[in-house]
């Protein structure tokens, strides 16, 4: 039954992601979806649908089929789009060298060889390892089907399916309500306000599909969610604020800017060290100030989870601000000056000018920064955590990348670590795809 379900899902997602406007597109998409699903499920020999396997794995099998159907459908669409865009843009026809066919391949080969061996191959191996039971340094490898994944999740297959689906349905429903309601009506305004919170609902629902006990992933998920989202939001908002402040001419502005951008050059471990010093409960300046001036006991971050998370967030934000400032400054250069001046003369206040003119022009930069900040908050935060808290207290600051290394290297369970890597990989791809959808049509890429 789960097998049939997974192919139905694959057909639907394949057709939808490839483009179902025409019958032909839908059929091709469905075929691609089935192809993707059979490839992945076949390579695992349909093990997750066996009768003695827990039903959580069957659910995961369906999800896997859907994911690969989407990858094949959307991937084919993107590749074809890229092809037609490349051919359409008249990609450098004149002035190209007419030499032996091997020339470009020689020039590209070093790059391609390295990408194949140190990006594509590890990516492939991460997926294969995630279905194995294997230890670091031993050659013994046993197939484990999807057990590495299912042990991260709750045991109830019904909840596993229902929770994310319900939240997606709610988000979809609100969107539909918004489109159907009269512009200007209360419902229209209400749905417009609550629509952006859909992603929060979805992320919140995911919290409950992770197991909370015996090596479950719930705490790690919560840590990652809190720490990463705080880092991204704070560093972008502060970065934009500083860019606004330091844009334009003030005496000595170049020096100010250089000093403000400086923390960008400082490493995550050093950021961890600096904040470790400031937050230290015995020698740190915060403790001293709290003690001497306000007479209260500064909590110890090695036992206080909130403070530990706060320290990591602040250290990372501090390190990231300079980077964001740099790019926002570059972005502000592209804001159409005449429009701002015209709007100012027309009496638009600075908030209006910011919302109507500056924000749309900053769109592409903000999008780029969102992706890079997200990457930073997922991965580079490792160095900060390793120096500040090492995941303490009681795992409250262990984010996904930290847990991957702990499980995969320190305890040597490569398969389990690889499975967590796959989860993180899916999160990165999912968030990027979601960002692309959000930004579609909302960003003006300017005339230049």
């Amino acid at each position: 039954m789960a097998l049939i379900a997974s192919f139905l899902v694959a057909i639907a997602i394949g057709a939808f992601s490839f483009g179902s406007r025409t019958m032909r597109g839908g059929a091709v998409g469905a075929a691609l979806g089935v192809l993707g699903a059979s490839l992945i499920l076949g390579s695992l020999r349909f093990c997750m649908f066996g009768s003695e396997v827990e039903s959580t794995q069957a659910v995961l099998g369906v999800v896997l089929a859907g994911a690969f159907a989407w990858m094949f459908g959307a991937g084919a669409k993107a590749v074809l789009g890229q092809k037609s865009a490349d051919l359409g843009s008249g990609d450098i026809r004149t002035g190209s060298f007419k030499l032996g066919w091997y020339w470009p391949w020689i020039l590209l080969s070093p790059t391609l060889v390295i990408l194949v061996f140190f990006l594509y191959l590890p990516a492939y191996q991460t997926f294969t390892l995630s279905t194995k039971l294997t230890r670091l340094g031993t050659p013994i490898v046993r197939d484990r089907c999807l057990q590495n994944f299912s042990e991260l999740l709750i045991t109830s297959p019904a909840l596993l399916v229902m929770l994310p689906l319900t939240s997606v349905a709610v988000i979809w429903g609100v969107g539909l309500w918004h489109r159907r309601s009269e512009p200007g009506s209360a419902a229209h305004g209400f749905t417009r306000v609550i629509r952006p919170f859909g992603i929060l609902l979805f992320l919140f629902s995911l919290y409950f599909i992770f197991e909370s006990e015996n090596g479950g992933y719930q705490l790690i998920y919560l840590n990652t969610l809190i720490i990463s989202s705080s880092i991204v939001i704070l560093s972008m908002v502060i970065g934009l604020g500083l860019a606004y402040l330091t844009f334009g001419h003030v005496r000595g502005i170049t020096v100010y800017r250089t000093l403000l951008i400086w923390p960008y050059a400082i490493s995550p471990p050093v950021a961890g060290i600096l904040f470790f010093m400031m937050f230290d409960a015995t020698g740190g300046i915060f403790a001293a100030v709290a003690d001497n001036w306000f007479g209260f006991n500064f909590p110890n971050y090695s036992t206080n989870a909130t403070l530990a998370r706060l320290a990591i967030i602040l250290a990372s934000v501090w390190k990231l601000i300079g980077y964001n400032l740099l790019f926002f400054l570059a972005g502000l250069q592209t804001v159409p000056r005449e429009q701002i001046e015209a709007a100012a003369i027309d009496g638009a206040n600075s908030l209006q000018r910011f919302r109507r003119i500056v924000m749309p022009a900053l769109g592409p930069i903000a999008f780029f920064l969102l992706i890079t900040n997200l990457t930073f908050s997922f991965f580079d935060v490792y160095g900060t955590i390793d120096f500040l808290t090492k995941g303490a207290p009681a795992g409250a600051t262990s984010v996904s990348i930290y847990e991957i290394i702990r499980v995969g290297i320190e305890t040597g369970q490569l398969g389990r670590g690889a499975a967590q890597s796959v989860v993180l990989f899916l999160a990165v791809i999912g968030l990027t795809a979601w960002q692309f959808r959000q930004s579609e049509g909302k960003i003006s890429y300017g005339s230049a």
Partner: protein, 287 residues
């Protein structure tokens, strides 16, 4: 300079007028935020000079421990050796990435060949594949090549850059077409064209990429932690770990001093290459 127009608005001449008003609140804002942002560094500089006793007595003036700390960190813990390893790794990767990206950009822009869009897509998609996500598998592969505890293991997996290839592709595509036509008429080979014409026209992009890559590699932490276990071959970011506790127990001063010293090279690179870097991001010319 502010000029007042008829409506009484104060707009900066030739400036976007994003922020209206006098300049002193702006100055104040800038100074305030600068103080906040530089505070962790200033505080670390202060602590670096203090002995543990001075730190615990919450003294706000420079202490007496600087020379001892430097001795402990530099000779005791061989910080120079660690920094040399980092410098070597960062330089090698930066050079390799720049050269490989230039070659890839050259191939993408000045050659037409079958399957180009597919190769392009193949490179493009790697932007979505962060190394860290597959670091366990990468660790296995590099270990099986016997590159543990070696410079090869630190450098080669990171020698290619999709970002760089795109940056140069973009940059070359915006250069005038006549350049390559003229040099072909002169009978120059693609490599001569690259070195004589393209590189001199690309210093800003090369500089911007170099700063980003150098800082990126210098600050790399997770990969060296995994692949290097020999203390002599370790990079400096990881080497800092050994300073968290010295033989005298917990050591704030030496650690802060080392953290500050470690942050100097990327700062030098950043300041030295600031001009091309800012120009690469279209910041330098406040047109």
């Amino acid at each position: 300079m502010a000029a007042h127009n008829k409506a009484g608005l104060s707009l900066q001449v030739g400036k976007p007028g994003l922020i209206r008003g006098r300049s002193w609140p702006k100055h104040f804002g800038i100074w305030f935020s600068m103080l906040l942002i530089l505070f962790p560094l200033l505080y670390a500089a202060l602590v670096a000079t203090q002995t543990n006793a001075e730190i615990f007595s919450f003294q706000l003036t420079p202490g007496t421990g600087l020379a001892t700390h430097f001795e402990q960190v530099w000779s005791g813990r061989n910080l120079g050796r660690l920094m040399w390893n980092s410098l070597l790794q960062a330089t090698l990767i930066t050079v390799a990435k720049t050269v490989l990206s230039l070659l890839a950009g050259l191939a993408f822009v000045y050659f037409s060949f079958r399957g180009k869009w597919l190769v392009f897509f193949f490179v493009l998609i790697t932007l979505m594949m962060p190394t860290e996500v597959m670091i366990l598998a990468l660790f296995r592969i590099v270990s099986s090549l016997g590159w543990k505890d070696s410079m090869a293991g630190l450098v080669i997996p990171f020698a290619a850059s999709a970002t760089g290839a795109f940056l140069f592709r973009q940059h070359f595509a915006n250069l005038p077409r006549d350049l390559s036509e003229a040099s072909q008429i002169d009978g120059a080979s693609p490599l001569q064209f690259l070195f004589k014409i393209l590189i001199p026209l690309s210093w800003n992009v090369i500089g911007a990429l170099a700063v980003i890559q150098f800082v990126f590699v210098w600050n790399m932490y997770l990969w060296p932690v995994l692949i290097i276990s020999d203390a002599d071959k370790q990079v400096v970011q990881v080497g800092l770990q050994g300073l968290q506790t010295l033989d005298t127990g917990f050591s704030f001063g030496p650690l802060m001093l080392a953290a500050l010293i470690v942050s100097i090279p990327p700062a030098i690179v950043f300041i030295a290459l600031q001009k091309p870097f800012m120009a690469g991001f279209a910041l330098g010319s406040d047109k």
